[in-house]
């Protein structure tokens, strides 16, 4: 078996009496899309936060490319190769679309301590930013103010910023949320191709997208992974139906 790019081991996190993560061990292998599904309040966001470094687990560990990163913060994990997109867009709304993408390129370059030459005159930064905007289909909106983007375009920009980082693993928190049918279909096609560059840990409520994309699906309920398997296995699992899918069908 190939070494996983990202792995959590026995992650546990409680908020008071609530066990938000209860011994979660999942991994992300090269070339795959691993979807995490589960009802609201199952602890998906808490899991993402622990993987990305925004929350420390009470116990357990997170390994990235074979290295234990449990003690590291968000910035260090990003530098180590995590590319995250947010459920609720976290973009600099006053800035242009290009500036948001250039921020990602700047993070990738690791050289923010430059005070004189304009950022826009830096051809490397610019090329990297423009390239990722082009890939997500925002090339025509580069000079727009980010606050003026539609909801769907902001989701695209989230993905574009993650692309500028050249991550070793993508962590995507509900990238389809609020996209509409056409937008979802487009993004689904894009993510389908993206997995060849870096595997994707995908938290998503859109079941059509999940079943179309995921190589593996893990079902999270009350902080526990109750099943992990292929789309077919998950669809067939009685426990999953009862816990989750049944509500929708």
């Amino acid at each position: 078996m190939t070494e996983p790019v990202l792995a959590t081991h026995d992650l546990t996190k409680s908020f008071g009496a609530l066990r938000a993560s209860d011994g979660i061990s999942i991994d992300l292998r090269p070339g795959e899309i691993h979807a995490i599904i589960g009802p609201n309040g199952a602890g998906k966001s808490t899991l993402i936060h622990q993987i990305c470094g925004g929350l420390r687990p009470d116990s357990g560990s997170v390994r990235l490319l074979g290295r234990d990163v449990t003690a590291e913060g968000i910035a260090a994990r990003s530098r180590a190769g995590l590319g995250r997109t947010f459920q609720i867009s976290a973009l600099a709304m006053e800035d242009s679309v290009l500036q948001n993408a250039m921020l990602g390129a700047l993070g990738h370059s690791g050289r923010p301590w430059r005070f004189w030459r304009p950022a826009h005159a830096d051809a490397d930064l610019r090329a990297r930013a423009e390239d990722s905007l082009r890939r997500v289909g925002l090339a025509d909106h580069m000079h727009m103010r980010t606050a003026n983007l539609s909801h769907g375009q902001r989701r695209q920009l989230e993905v574009a910023v993650a692309l500028t980082l050249d991550p070793k693993a993508f962590i995507m928190d509900e990238p389809m949320a609020g996209l509409g049918a056409e937008g979802s279909a487009l993004l689904t096609r894009f993510l389908d191709g993206l997995r060849a560059e870096a595997p994707i840990l995908l938290v998503e409520h859109d079941m059509d997208a999940v079943f179309a994309l995921a190589d593996r699906i893990s079902v999270l309920v009350y902080g526990r992974v109750i099943a992990t398997g292929s789309a077919r296995d998950i669809r067939a699992s009685a426990e999953v139906r009862e816990a989750y899918l049944g509500e929708e069908a």
Binding site: D95, L106, F115, R117, D122
Partner: protein
């Protein structure tokens, strides 16, 4: 609507033209008033880097203004009294040279900003305001009780300090020096805002978590902005002390921190020329209304209220609304 660049150049040109006219008319008092505008603008331009670019609401910038003032006061005091300054093993003769005083003022206030920043940046919002205010009060009360340098009465310097090759006793030459420093600082601020550092800082103000997610540290970006900001305000403090040939604890007062903030908000937070416009309005009101009534600040208050309620971008925002991107 005016392109911002023309507005910036226009305001600076107007300031320079007024000073030259005053020189032709032999109105040295007017030149002194214009010099005050320039120096306050410089102090506020320093604050504008922390407040406008970094989003750091510092109610303690008087610390740096005062440190700059006392750096000048103490160096000049020792020089004029021929009493060397003993700092442990180090003996300094004092100095009456502006470049030496400026560098000292910059170094001392940058160091203070580093320490204050490291402690205050752990907090945010109203706690950040309170902690910077607390530092300001510490310096204020310390300066009051520091009898060696005049305590409450402050320090008088008999003759304005010198600049190589120029006569600083001539008001227009001193104005020229201050004006040149202001222009250089504004040029630097402008470049800074557009630089990679400025891009990251700008984002750190809006969405710190995004900046972390691309692998940068918002805390370090803001700390450096705070240090640069403090150093510039410190330099302004040294010039202000030289303008008045006097330093006193008032330079450390929280009212002064508040005034600097008023200048920035009046002119336009985060706008390059905002501090200059703010300082010009402030000093103009002080001079014009101050002669009519002792309560002129009531009118300043009214204007500030109108700006905050109806024109968040300040006066500059009214004249040249902020664009997006890089021009």
């Amino acid at each position: 609507m005016i392109r911002e660049r023309y507005l910036n150049l226009g305001v600076l040109a107007l300031l320079l033209a007024l000073a030259l006219l005053a020189r032709l008319a032999d109105q040295s008092f007017t030149i002194t008033v214009l010099t005050k505008v320039v120096i306050l603008a410089l102090a506020a331009a320093g604050l504008n880097i922390a407040l406008g670019l970094g989003g750091l609401v510092s109610l303690g910038h008087a610390v740096f203004f005062g440190l700059g003032g006392y750096a000048m006061g103490i160096l000049a005091f020792h020089a004029q009294n021929f009493a060397p300054l003993e700092l442990g093993p180090l003996t300094i003769a004092g100095s009456k040279s502006m470049p030496v005083i400026w560098l000292t003022a910059i170094a001392v206030s940058a160091l203070a900003a580093l320490v204050i920043g490291l402690l205050s940046l752990r907090t945010s919002g109203v706690y950040f305001i309170m902690i910077t205010l607390a530092f300001g009060q510490m310096f204020y009360y310390f300066s009051i009780s520091w009898a060696a340098y005049g305590g409450e009465d402050g320090l008088s310097i008999y003759i304005r300090n010198g600049f190589p090759g120029l006569n600083m006793l001539d008001p227009i030459q001193f104005f020229g020096i201050c004006f040149a420093v202001l222009c250089l600082v504004l040029l630097f601020s402008d470049r800074l805002a557009r630089s990679p550092f400025g891009l990251a800082l700008n984002a750190a103000r809006q969405v710190p978590v995004r900046v972390e997610t691309v692998g940068l540290s918002p805390m370090r970006l803001k700390l450096l902005a705070f240090v640069i900001s403090g150093a510039i305000t410190g330099l302004a403090g040294a010039l202000y002390a030289d303008l008045n040939r006097f330093v006193s604890p008032t330079m450390f007062s929280w009212q002064l921190s508040g005034e600097l903030m008023v200048l920035v908000i009046l002119g336009g937070v985060g706008r390059l020329i905002g501090p200059v416009v703010g300082a010009a309005i402030f000093v103009a009101l002080e001079q014009l209304l101050g002669g009519l009534t002792a309560f002129w600040q009531i009118w300043l208050g009214v204007i500030l209220l109108l700006i905050v309620l109806f024109a968040r971008g300040g006066v500059v925002g009214l004249i040249a609304p902020k664009g997006v991107g890089h021009d």
